[in-house]
């Protein structure tokens, strides 16, 4: 079986003035893969991700996401991807249902499809009681789960998650990763950045960025063997310190 590549990045670079935030990174992501995009704060993860989702123009290099070019076809990319940022990005002053309807609407889903998806989502997350509550009144962990589900509303090929579990408790994180696995099993490619090294262990492959460069890229198991460590935490520390 030939594996389909959904993200192709070659020598992608982003320069701000005389600061190189992302320095000629290259990697491929396969369909249905959970790709962990690791790095310390300020290593360039978010900048790289913003170029891939079409909201930041690259300085040089090439990248192809879901078959579309990041320079010329950003709006096509946006139809094929979902995105959830570290900044919680649902509307606090709208209810759960209204948020779902709004985002479904701007992705061009039909009215029936929206109400169908909305009911399904509310049932799956067990949100029947709060469906008509303002999102702002819900605990952070719930909001994150709703935001993730909303990013999947239009059945994207790839979902980009930027530190999705920041600030939530371990139980919720666990549940969150179960949702990620489920989406990956349905064939959705997951591109996720995180600071939690235990989460890195859940990924199929991880890349580790240091100062704008990708210093390592492999399965968690191979990385541990290669660096002679017994945890991803150790691998990360060795790379980040060197």
């Amino acid at each position: 079986m030939k594996e389909e590549t959904v993200i192709k990045v070659e020598g992608l670079t982003k320069v701000f003035g005389d600061f190189t935030a992302v320095n000629k990174i290259s990697f491929h992501v396969r369909k249905g893969e959970i790709f962990g995009f690791l790095g310390a704060n300020g290593a360039g993860k978010t900048t790289a991700m913003k170029m891939l989702i079409g909201i930041s123009a690259p300085s040089s290099g090439s990248a192809n996401v879901a078959g579309f070019d990041v320079y010329t076809q950003t709006e096509d990319i946006k139809k094929s991807i979902g995105y959830m940022s570290q900044k919680f990005a649902l509307y606090d002053d709208l209810t759960v249902k209204e948020n779902i309807r709004f985002f479904g609407g701007i992705y061009g889903l039909s009215k029936n499809r929206i109400s169908q998806k909305s009911n399904l989502l509310i049932e799956e997350l067990g949100l029947e009681k709060v469906a008509h509550s303002l999102v702002g009144s819900l605990p952070l962990g719930w909001k994150q789960k709703i935001a993730f589900s909303v990013s999947l509303l239009h059945d994207p090929k790839i979902v980009f998650l930027d530190e999705p579990t920041g600030g939530v408790d371990p139980i919720t994180r666990r549940q969150f990763w179960e949702m990620i696995y489920k989406a990956a099993n349905n064939g959705t490619t997951i591109f996720v950045t995180t600071h939690y090294m235990d989460e890195a262990e859940y990924c199929d492959r991880v890349s580790i960025m240091v100062d704008g460069n990708i210093e390592a890229l492999d399965t968690p198991k191979n990385l541990k063997t290669h660096f002679g460590s017994d945890s991803m935490n150790d691998v990360f520390l060795k790379l980040a310190r060197s």
């Binding site: 913003k50 989702i53 079409g54 909201i55 930041s56 123009a57 950003t74 709006e75 096509d76 946006k78 139809k79 991807i81 995105y83 940022s85 900044k87 919680f88 990005a89 649902l90 509307y91 606090d92 002053d93 709208l94 209204e98 309807r101 709004f102 985002f103 609407g105 701007i106 992705y107 061009g108």
Partner: protein, 373 residues
């Protein structure tokens, strides 16, 4: 098109859910209309008036009584000596001092020229000018009556010819300042509310991070902008309606022209302001910045709109600048249509300029809104 409806729906929900914002949108402007229309007047009343009477005769007292009889002056102070009056002026106790010279009555009968001393506090030049007119008028009337008296007393067959201009005030016959101000204040509140709301709206989404989420969706720029601005357009038209009703009910402001024309013009005018608000929010990162920039423009626009001071009396370069002031056009149209009953052909120049303005402003707003940084 459906996408636009989803955005409009969301915006309206957010606006009407924001309990802190609703009174600001609907109640404050109306308070503004009621308060400002009454307060922003050029009429000057209760001028504190003092005098130095060096003559102490029947005639000098008669002159002072004329001032006492006027509703504009508050004759409160008598000064025995100019030194005292100067001091009172310095301390701000009087605004106008009339000095009647010695032998005032005697010289009058001798038909000599008499100089009355009038001192006016001119820190506020405009007020001083108005006060000067009031004083001159009172003295003139006094002079006229006096000469009639003298003619009668002397039984002279040749009556002095008295020429008097009778002014006819068109469009605002009673010189009611409220009639003049209400249409202008209405312009202000429609402008300010729509500019601030649209200017802060998108920048607010930038602040809370939802704009990034929107930018990652395949939404079209013009869909997003139309959906965003339409609710504020509706609010602007709503404000105009409430304002017109209040103007009629409270101030009995006339509406001589076509109401439909008024609405037609306003519908285009609001587009200019919304485009401007959006343009501002595209170049700012916080609501605070957007607010300051919006204020900067609003203050300049208001002061240079001809609302409070006539554009004709501004220097040439300033008059040129007012050509770029949308508020100026709206104030002109409001006054023309409401007070003069002007029709479409009369307001055509302003209408064309405003339409052009709207097209340019909104093109710039759409152009400057970037989904990609």
């Amino acid at each position: 098109m459906r996408v636009i409806l989803y955005i409009i729906n969301k915006e309206f929900r957010q606006i009407f859910r924001n309990k802190g914002m609703l009174p600001i949108i609907f109640i404050l402007p109306l308070l503004q209309l009621v308060i400002l229309s009454n307060a922003a007047t050029y009429e000057i009343n209760n001028i504190s008036f003092g005098y130095v009477d060096n003559d102490h005769t029947h005639t000098s007292r008669a002159l002072i009584d004329k001032f006492r009889a006027s509703t504009f002056f508050d004759v409160s102070q008598v000064f025995p000596h100019p030194k005292e009056s100067d001091l009172a002026m310095l301390q701000g106790e009087v605004d106008v001092v009339l000095t009647i010279p010695e032998h005032f009555e005697r010289d009058l009968w001798k038909d000599k020229n008499i100089d009355l001393g009038v001192t006016i506090n001119a820190i506020d030049g405009a007020a001083a000018g108005v006060e000067n007119v009031y004083i001159t008028q009172i003295i003139k009337t006094f002079n006229k009556n006096l000469s009639v008296d003298m003619v009668q007393l002397s039984n002279n067959t040749v009556r002095p010819v008295l020429i008097e201009g009778i002014p006819l005030f068109w469009y605002n016959k009673t010189l009611n300042y409220k009639t003049f101000m209400v249409p202008g204040i209405l312009v202000l509140l429609v402008t300010m509310i729509t500019l601030f709301l649209s200017g802060m709206n998108i920048v607010r989404e930038k602040e809370i991070g939802t704009l990034e989420q929107i930018n990652v969706t395949p939404i079209k720029k013009h869909h997003f902008i139309i959906g965003k601005l339409f609710p504020f357009w509706v609010i602007g038209m709503g404000l105009l309606t409430i304002g017109l009703v209040l103007a009629k009910l409270i101030f009995a402001t006339p509406m001589l022209g076509s109401l439909a024309l008024m609405y037609f013009y306003t519908s285009i005018y609001i587009l200019v302001i919304l485009g401007m608000g959006l343009f501002i929010s595209n170049f700012t990162d916080t609501q605070q910045q957007a607010m300051f920039i919006a204020w900067f423009f609003v203050v300049i626009f208001i002061l240079m709109s001809g609302l409070f001071t006539p554009i004709e009396s501004m220097p040439k370069w300033a008059q040129f600048l007012t050509e770029f002031n949308p508020i100026k056009y709206f104030v002109e149209i409001m006054r023309m249509v409401m007070l003069k009953g002007s029709g479409l052909t009369d307001i055509l120049p302003q209408l064309v300029k405003t339409t052009l303005y709207a097209v340019i402003m909104n093109a710039m707003a759409v152009w400057s809104y970037k989904k990609i940084s």
